[in-house]
C-alpha cells in the first residue's frame, strides 16, 4: 500500500472525525493507502511539519496556508471538506455588548497562532482599530478555554460552534444568556480545515494519484461520519480523543459545516483579499489551490 502521512492541526477530536473514520472503516485501505494520522497540538504548525518533510498532506486554515506560501513553502489546497467556518464570538447577554456597534472600548478574546486573521479582517471591515483605547478594541490573546468569559477578563471570547461554545454551556451559561456573532453568518468567514500539499509534489503523477485516492477516501469518511455521529465519535476516542459525550456532540456540530470537499472560489477570493488588506501576505497568491484533485476524486 502507498504510505501517506497526514498532519492534523490540533489534537484528536471530532473536528477531524472524517479522517479517523476513513482509517477505522478501512476506506483508505480500500484505496490502497496506508495512512498515518499525526495529531497536532497547541504549538505544532502543520506548515512547518510539511516543509520539513514530516508529512505528505496537512489540515490547516487557508489563511495560515497562504501565509506559508507567501514565505516560500508552496502549499496548494487540494480539497476543502469544511464548507463553512465554525468560528464565532460569544458575549454574555447581561454584558455590555449586544451588537457590533458596542465593541468600541471593550476587550475581545481572540485565538492567535494563525487563527487571528478572520477576526482582524472583521475589525478591518468595521473600521475598528485593535490597539485598544476608547475608540478601538483591546485584544486579549485567549487561552484554550472559556475562562476569560467566566472571569470577565474579556467581554467576548472566540469559540468554535462545535467545541468551546459547548464548554460555555457546560460551565453554566444557557444559550439564551449569550449573544453570538457567527463569522459565517456575518459573511466574515475565511476557509478553515482544508487539505494542503506541497506544489512541487503534485508534478509527480504518482503522488497526484495518491492524493486523489486519499481525498476520495477521506470524503467518504466524512460522509460516513456525518451520517453516523456515534460511530464517528467512537473512532475519535479510539484515536486518543477525550470525553466521549463531548466528541459526539462535536461530530454532530461539525456535520453542519462539512460540504462536498470542493473549494468555493468566492470564499477563496474573500480570504486572499482579507490577507492582502492586512498585509499578512505581500502579493496576490497564484496557483494556491487546484480543483484537479477533487475533480478526479469526486465525480
Amino acid at each position: 500500500a502507498d504510505k501517506v502521512v497526514l498532519q492534523l492541526k490540533w489534537v484528536a477530536q471530532g473536528q477531524f472525525a472524517g479522517y479517523f473514520v476513513a482509517k477505522e472503516k478501512g476506506f483508505y485501505e480500500e484505496e490502497g493507502l496506508d495512512v498515518e494520522i499525526k495529531n497536532g497540538g497547541p504549538d505544532i504548525a502543520p506548515e512547518q511539519v510539511i516543509a520539513g518533510g514530516g508529512a505528505d498532506v496537512i489540515v490547516t486554515w487557508m489563511a495560515a496556508g497562504l501565509a506559508a506560501r507567501d514565505k516560500g513553502v508552496k502549499l496548494v489546497n487540494i480539497a476543502q471538506p469544511y464548507a463553512k467556518s465554525g468560528l464565532e464570538l460569544i458575549c454574555p447577554k447581561d454584558g455590555p455588548i449586544q451588537t457590533e456597534a458596542d465593541f468600541k472600548g471593550h476587550t475581545l478574546g481572540v485565538w492567535f497562532f494563525g487563527n487571528e486573521y478572520p477576526f482582524y479582517a472583521w475589525m478591518h471591515k468595521l473600521g475598528l482599530p485593535t490597539e485598544g483605547g476608547p475608540d478601538g478594541v483591546t485584544v486579549l490573546k485567549q487561552s484554550f478555554d472559556v475562562q476569560p468569559l467566566i472571569q470577565k477578563q474579556a467581554d467576548c471570547i472566540s469559540v468554535m460552534t462545535y467545541n468551546e461554545y459547548w464548554q460555555a454551556i457546560d460551565a453554566g451559561f444557557k444559550p439564551e444568556d449569550l449573544v453570538v456573532f457567527n463569522y459565517t453568518e456575518l459573511g466574515n468567514d475565511l476557509l478553515e480545515d482544508g487539505l494542503y500539499v506541497i506544489e512541487d509534489n503534485l508534478k509527480d503523477a504518482a503522488f497526484e494519484d495518491k492524493m486523489v485516492r486519499f481525498v476520495r477516501a477521506s470524503m467518504k469518511g466524512w460522509k460516513y461520519a456525518v451520517d453516523n455521529p456515534e460511530e464517528a465519535a467512537e473512532a475519535v476516542m479510539e484515536a486518543g480523543g477525550q470525553d466521549e459525550n463531548h466528541q459526539q456532540r462535536m461530530v454532530g456540530e461539525v456535520a453542519k459545516l462539512i460540504g462536498d470537499g470542493k473549494l468555493d472560489p468566492v470564499v477563496y477570493e474573500r480570504t486572499t483579499k482579507a490577507l492582502l488588506d492586512q498585509k499578512i501576505i505581500t502579493k496576490e497568491p497564484e496557483g494556491a489551490y487546484t480543483t484537479a484533485i477533487t475533480d478526479k476524486a469526486l465525480q
Binding site: 516543509a51 478574546g109 487571528e116 475562562q147 477578563q153
Partner: protein
C-alpha cells in the same frame, strides 16, 4: 624551533587538499562560487601559522584572518546558489572552521600580563566561538537550502531585528522588565525566606520541604493558565509563573548552603552565646553564599524561560512569548528567531551580572580565589 604540527592545522591542510580535488572533479556543475580563493586562503593561513610557531600573537592574527576571510568568501559565493553546495564547499567550510578552532586554542594559551588584555581575551574568545556558530548555521542553511520555515539563516534574523526594533523593544519591556524582573525578585526572595523559615523551625522544615518539593514540579503549562485566572492576563500572571519556577532552586540551594558552614566556626559562635539570627547573618549566610548564587544563576535563565512560556497562554498582544507563538502561526520564523536572539542576549547579560556580583560577594571562596 620547529614546532610539531597541531592536529587542527593538519586536518585543515587535509581538508583543503581534499576540497581541491573534489572541486576539480565537480567542475562546472554550477555550485557555489569562490571555492578556489577560499581554499587557497585557508591553505595559506594554515601553512603560515605553522611556520610561525613560537609567535602566538602573530599566529592568532593570521589564523583569524584566514578563517574569517575564507568564511566570508564562502558565504558570498553561496548566495544565489542556495541548496546546491557540494562536498568541496563543506570541506572548505570545515577547513575554515578548524582554522578558527586553532585560533581560539592559540588565544586561550596566551597569558597577557595586563588586566585589560585578559579582559579583552575573555571577550574575544567567546565571540569567535559564537561567530562560528552563526557562520556554520548560515552556511549550512544556505548551502543545503533548508526551508526558511524550518530554520532561517542568521542574516535573515539580523535583518529582521533591524527592521522590527520597535516591536522587539516593546516585547522586551513587557516580558523582561515587567514579568521577569518582578517574578525573579519575588521568587528568589520567597524561596530564600522559605528556606530560612524551614531552617529556623524544625516543624516547618519537616513539613515545608516536602511541600516545597511539590512546587518544584508544578509544570508551567499547567500553572500558567491558572495564574492567568488568578492574576489576570497581563504581566502579573507571568510574574507569578516566574515566582513558582524560581522558588524551588532557591529553596534547595539555600537549605544545603545553610549547612555548609564548618563545625568549628559554629562552635565558635556558640561560645559567644550567639543567638540564631546573629549566627545566621554572620556565619551561616556568608558560608551559604556560593550555593545561593548557584540558585541565582540558574534562576536567571529559568525566569526568562518561564515568562516567555507563560505568555503562550492568555496575554495582551505584546510580549516575547506572545510574539513567538503568534509569528510561528504567521510563518514569520525570522521574527521568532529575532525574539529568541533578544531573549538569549538578555538572559546572557542577566546571568553575567549575577556572576559578577557573585565574584564580588564570594571573593573568599576557593573557587574564586583559586582563579
Amino acid at each position: 624551533m620547529r614546532a610539531s604540527l597541531p592536529w587542527q592545522i593538519a586536518l585543515v591542510l587535509l581538508a583543503a587538499a581534499a576540497g581541491g580535488v573534489l572541486q576539480v572533479a565537480a567542475a562546472g556543475d554550477g555550485g557555489p562560487g569562490n571555492i578556489w580563493p577560499a581554499l587557497g586562503l585557508i591553505a595559506l593561513a594554515a601553512a603560515g601559522a605553522w611556520s610561525m610557531a613560537g609567535k602566538p600573537a602573530a599566529q592568532a592574527i593570521l589564523l583569524f584572518i584566514g578563517a574569517h576571510g575564507a568564511a566570508w568568501l564562502l558565504l558570498n559565493g553561496v548566495s544565489g546558489h542556495e541548496g546546491r553546495a557540494g562536498p568541496s564547499f563543506y570541506l572548505a567550510l570545515v577547513g575554515a572552521w578548524l582554522l578558527a578552532w586553532r585560533c581560539v586554542s592559540v588565544l586561550s594559551m596566551l597569558k597577557p600580563a595586563s588586566l585589560g588584555g585578559r579582559r579583552l581575551l575573555g571577550l574575544i574568545i567567546p565571540l569567535i566561538f559564537g561567530a562560528w556558530v552563526l557562520i556554520l548555521w548560515e552556511a549550512i542553511v544556505r548551502g543545503a537550502g533548508i526551508p526558511f520555515l524550518l530554520l532561517p539563516p542568521p542574516s535573515a534574523i539580523a535583518e529582521r531585528i533591524g527592521v522590527s526594533t520597535a516591536v522587539l523593544a516593546a516585547d522586551f519591556r513587557q516580558t523582561v522588565l515587567k514579568a521577569v524582573l518582578a517574578g525573579y525578585i519575588i521568587g528568589c526572595a520567597s524561596g530564600f525566606i522559605a528556606a530560612i523559615a524551614a531552617d529556623r523551625f524544625v516543624f516547618l522544615r519537616r513539613g515545608l520541604l516536602p511541600i516545597g518539593n511539590m512546587a518544584a514540579a508544578l509544570p508551567i503549562i499547567g500553572v500558567a493558565p491558572i495564574m492567568v485566572m488568578w492574576f489576570g492576563f497581563d504581566w502579573p500572571s507571568k510574574a507569578a509563573v516566574v515566582v513558582i519556577m524560581t522558588f524551588f532552586p532557591m529553596l534547595v540551594n539555600t537549605v544545603v548552603g545553610l549547612s555548609a558552614s564548618g563545625h568549628m566556626e559554629r562552635d565558635l559562635m556558640r561560645t559567644y552565646a550567639s543567638g540564631y539570627w546573629p549566627t545566621l547573618v554572620k556565619l551561616r549566610l556568608p558560608a551559604a553564599m556560593p550555593f545561593i548564587f548557584n540558585a541565582l544563576k540558574i534562576n536567571s535563565t529559568l525566569a526568562l524561560i518561564g515568562a516567555i512560556v507563560a505568555e503562550f497562554f492568555g496575554t495582551p498582544v505584546v510580549g516575547m512569548g506572545f510574539r513567538i507563538s503568534t509569528e510561528v502561526g504567521r510563518m514569520n520564523i525570522d521574527m521568532v528567531w529575532a525574539e529568541i536572539a533578544v531573549a538569549a542576549l538578555a538572559g546572557t547579560l542577566f546571568y553575567g551580572v549575577v556572576a559578577l556580583v557573585e565574584r564580588a560577594v564570594t571573593f573568599w571562596h576557593p573557587s574564586i580565589r583559586g582563579g
